[in-house]
């Protein structure tokens, strides 16, 4: 477990910025308790500072996970957000879309969001911006990238893709083995 290098930090923040925008500041400089990002076995964790201090005695080999796992650094050196980050993103998300109950499960199986399943959408969402996807009961289900802007969405035919799938909570069941 170590702090992120400057490069890594830049990658992580850039990615987070796509979803939370300027709320990133609230994420890093929290009012309640100092939080930090740590890298452990190519995974990026977000946690209270007290937590990682207390976890210090645990050897690197034996430490499996701590705090909130928000993403991983791939072999290619890129940063991917994983579903663990969903709660953080949902709290601070700039752009959101809501799914109709009928297409909830379809998204939870890893499919893109189609126009037919789109219940609501925040205004002024640009194409290719990050969105957090909720169901109509405001339960965060995952996140993705908009394929079209809000205005374009209005005129689309029902089978057209509105948002590309990136992560969804169905992964907790589908890929439990690759969580850590």
């Amino acid at each position: 477990m170590r702090p992120l290098t400057e490069e890594e930090a830049k990658m992580v923040f850039e990615k987070l910025y796509k979803y939370v925008g300027k709320n990133l500041k609230a994420l890093v400089e929290r009012s309640d308790e100092a939080h930090c990002f740590r890298l452990h076995k190519n995974r990026v964790y977000y946690m209270r500072e007290s937590l990682f201090r207390k976890a210090a005695p645990i050897a690197r080999d034996n430490l499996v996970a701590l705090g909130t796992g928000i993403g991983k650094i791939t072999h290619g050196g890129k940063f991917h957000l994983t579903v663990g980050a969903l709660e953080l993103l949902a709290q601070h998300a700039k752009h959101k879309i809501w799914l109709k109950p009928s297409s909830e499960l379809q998204f939870l199986y890893g499919n893109n969001v189609l126009k037919a399943g789109l219940g609501r959408i925040t205004d002024n969402t640009a194409a290719y911006s990050g969105v957090v996807i909720f169901n109509m009961a405001d339960v965060p289900l995952g996140f993705g990238v908009m394929a079209r802007s809000t205005i374009e969405c209005k005129t689309l035919d029902p089978t057209a893709v509105v948002a590309f799938h990136q992560a969804d909570v169905g992964e907790y069941l589908r890929s439990e083995e690759t969580m850590s």
Partner: protein, 650 residues
């Protein structure tokens, strides 16, 4: 004269013909009557006995009457002719004919009418008979008929069942011999006795009944042990337990309750789920699930987060709510240790055997994600489900590690935690329905191996806790085993080794822990521990015990130190003071509790105990002696006697 004779003969002929006709007619009517009411034949009752007699008898009676009054026509005229004419021997025929003739001569033309009249009278009679039969005796007969039919059916069924059993036995035998492939037909004729399971079950019920009311129902020739042995045997065959498990279960419960326990261990407990209070509330979750077609209810007064599911049209482990971490599917019994531990906010808590995370996430929810939870799991594969569940449930205060629990004290350092939850790995005798192989695979060795690990883990858990903690200093030990060896005995061991005491776990229900079991004598405070059984609480078999750490450090291995500790006073009292080594307690019947496995009987320790016990007063000895020890002592005495005898002989 000749003419007269001829005429007479002629007359006789015609009369005879007439008579024949008449008798034939009457016979016909009779046949008709017979055919018309077959039931009538069966319907004869005693009320008809005055006139109704078996044919041969009646014939004889008629003959006798004839002998007495050879010319009595009227007796023949009405009823005699039709019956009599049926079975007349050739020798009698003449006389009979004569009689007939005479009778016919009296009223030639009216014979037909008379015959028919007589028949009519008889038919009326028989009709009356029929009515009488249908009102009284007929109903009885119906029942009899039915019962006969039923009996027949039963006999047939039994025959079929037997045939089937034999068939199956043959088949099994064939399968057993399948490898050889050389089937000898004659060898297969003798089928192995296949137990009839329903019969075995009724037998179990019967024996239990007898054992419950032993004084009144017993067969005086049979000792209780014989009944118990038979019960064991039947339970083994019906439920597939091995002898060791049956012994243990019958040692824990009375016969009726033991069978109840076994019976309820066959079926799964109801599906229960726990609301994740970090993300939602129980009422909201229940509403969401009811919308999805799940029929559920709160689990009971004792839990504010539990829901019990009666019926679900959708898979509960794949709803959007489940994936979003609003609830966890977990047995109701695994709520209990978390509730007993009741961690406070901002504490440091260690879960020593955490996977798959049901209890860990509950602890996090109780702490509202504050403080820190060290969730440890020894097996690497199992940490994956632990991580996934913690992430799904939104747990952010967990540090997940992969250590052997016994090393944790070394890794984290002693006195590191405020509270420790040890849900120890166990033999799983409380959750037989989840893994039925437990019934047949567990042996004494398995149990004692578990006990060994559990003792080490519990000591490690106690060492992790800081007795000086302002809010905590508690350890909760739980297993899903019902064996006192894995529960009370382990706690007793910890009480001897560390400065801890058993405290109330704050759970409203559950049975008290054992203070004594077979020849074990546990610490009396173990009554504060709680036991749960499938038949009594509809939970998995479970044991929960909460310990409070009084002082850091280990107890010195001498008995004197025990006396210094107030919690060990009762223990010390039990140990009768004089033992220098708390490990081998001189109490007869109290097993030696050592980390390298404890044996109850049969080894040298018992003998030594017995010898020491002898040295003490007679009263004490009598009070405390029990089965095995007594036997051991007797054996020892006998050996001594033999040795003496041989010495004397030399």
């Amino acid at each position: 004269m000749a003419k007269g004779e001829q005429a007479r003969a002629k007359k006789r002929k015609t009369a005879r013909g007439d008579g024949k006709l008449a008798s034939e007619a009457s016979r016909h009517v009779l046949r008709k009557a017979k055919a018309g009411g077959l039931g009538k034949v069966a319907g004869f009752t005693d009320s008809n006995a005055s006139w109704l007699k078996p044919k041969s008898k009646r014939h004889k009676a008629a003959e006798a009457a004839q002998v007495a009054r050879p010319d009595s026509d009227d007796s023949m005229g009405t009823s005699g002719d039709d019956f009599g004419s049926e079975e007349v021997s050739s020798a009698e025929e003449g006389e009979q004919c004569k009689n007939l003739l005479e009778s016919e001569e009296e009223g030639d033309g009216s014979s037909d009418i008379a015959g028919s009249r007589s028949d009519g009278a008889e038919s009326i009679d028989s009709e009356a008979d029929l009515e009488e039969g249908s009102s009284g005796s007929e109903a009885e007969l119906e029942i009899e008929k039915k019962s006969r039919l039923v009996e027949k059916q039963r006999a047939r069924d039994k025959m079929h069942a037997e045939a089937e059993i034999k068939d199956m036995a043959l088949q099994w035998q064939r399968e057993a011999e399948g490898q050889d492939d050389e089937l000898d037909d004659t060898s297969m004729i003798i089928p192995q006795a296949v137990p009839d399971l329903t019969e075995v079950k009724t037998r179990i019920a019967e024996i239990v009944n007898v054992l419950e009311n032993f004084k009144t129902l017993r067969n005086p020739a049979m000792p209780r042990a014989a009944y118990v042995d038979s019960l064991k045997h039947n339970v083994k065959t019906y439920y597939g337990y091995n002898g060791f498990m049956v012994d243990c279960i019958l040692g824990l419960f009375g016969p009726a309750e033991a069978v109840e326990f076994i019976e309820s261990s066959e079926v799964a407990r109801p599906v229960t789920l726990r609301t994740n209070t970090l993300k939602t509330r129980r009422r909201e979750l229940a509403a969401a699930l009811i919308n999805r077609g799940v029929n559920l209810d709160p689990i009971g007064k004792w839990s504010k987060v539990g829901l019990v599911v009666y019926e679900a049209q959708i898979p509960l482990g794949a709803t959007p709510e489940y994936m979003a971490g609003h609830y966890m599917l977990q047995g109701a019994s695994s709520f209990l240790p978390c509730m007993a531990l009741s961690p406070q906010a901002h504490e440091t808590v260690v879960d020593m055997a955490a996977a798959p995370g049901g209890k860990t996430t509950y602890l996090a929810a109780l702490m509202r994600n504050s403080g820190i939870i060290f969730a440890n799991e020894m097996k690497n594969e199992r940490t994956k489900s632990l991580v996934a569940n913690c992430q799904r449930m939104g747990v952010t205060n967990a540090v997940i590690s992969c250590y052997d629990g016994r090393q944790l004290t070394k890794v984290l350092g002693p006195k590191h935690a405020d509270r420790v939850l040890l849900d120890a790995p166990c033999s799983g005798t409380g959750v037989i329905h989840k893994d039925p192989s437990v019934k047949s695979s567990k042996t004494t060795n398995d149990i004692w191996n578990c006990v060994n690990v559990q003792k080490q883990l519990l000591l490690a858990a106690i060492d992790l806790v800081d007795a000086a903690s302002k809010t905590g200093g508690y350890i909760v030990y739980s297993t899903c085993s019902i064996m006192p060896e894995e529960n009370e005995l382990v706690i007793t061991y910890a009480l001897r080794k560390r400065f801890v005491k058993v405290v109330s776990s704050g759970l409203e229900f559950g049975r008290e822990g054992f203070a004594r079991y077979r020849d074990f004598r546990f610490h009396p405070s173990l009554k504060l521990a709680r036991r749960y059984y499938p038949h009594a609480h509809n939970l998995d078999g479970f044991f929960v015990c909460k310990l409070k750490k009084l002082s850091n450090g280990a107890k010195p291995p001498t008995g004197e130190a025990n006396d210094g500790d107030e919690t060990a006073k009762a223990d010390a009292a039990l140990q009768t003071g004089e033992d220098a080594n708390p490990v081998s307690v001189p109490l007869p019947g109290k097993p030696r509790a050592e980390s390298n496995g404890v044996r109850r009987d049969g080894d040298d320790g018992e003998g030594a105990d017995g010898r020491r016990a002898e040295q003490k007063g007679e009263k004490k000895k009598k009070k405390r002696e029990r089965g095995i020890v007594k036997k051991a002592r007797e054996e020892l005495m006998e050996e001594m006697r033999k040795l003496k005898a041989t010495d004397d002989a030399r």
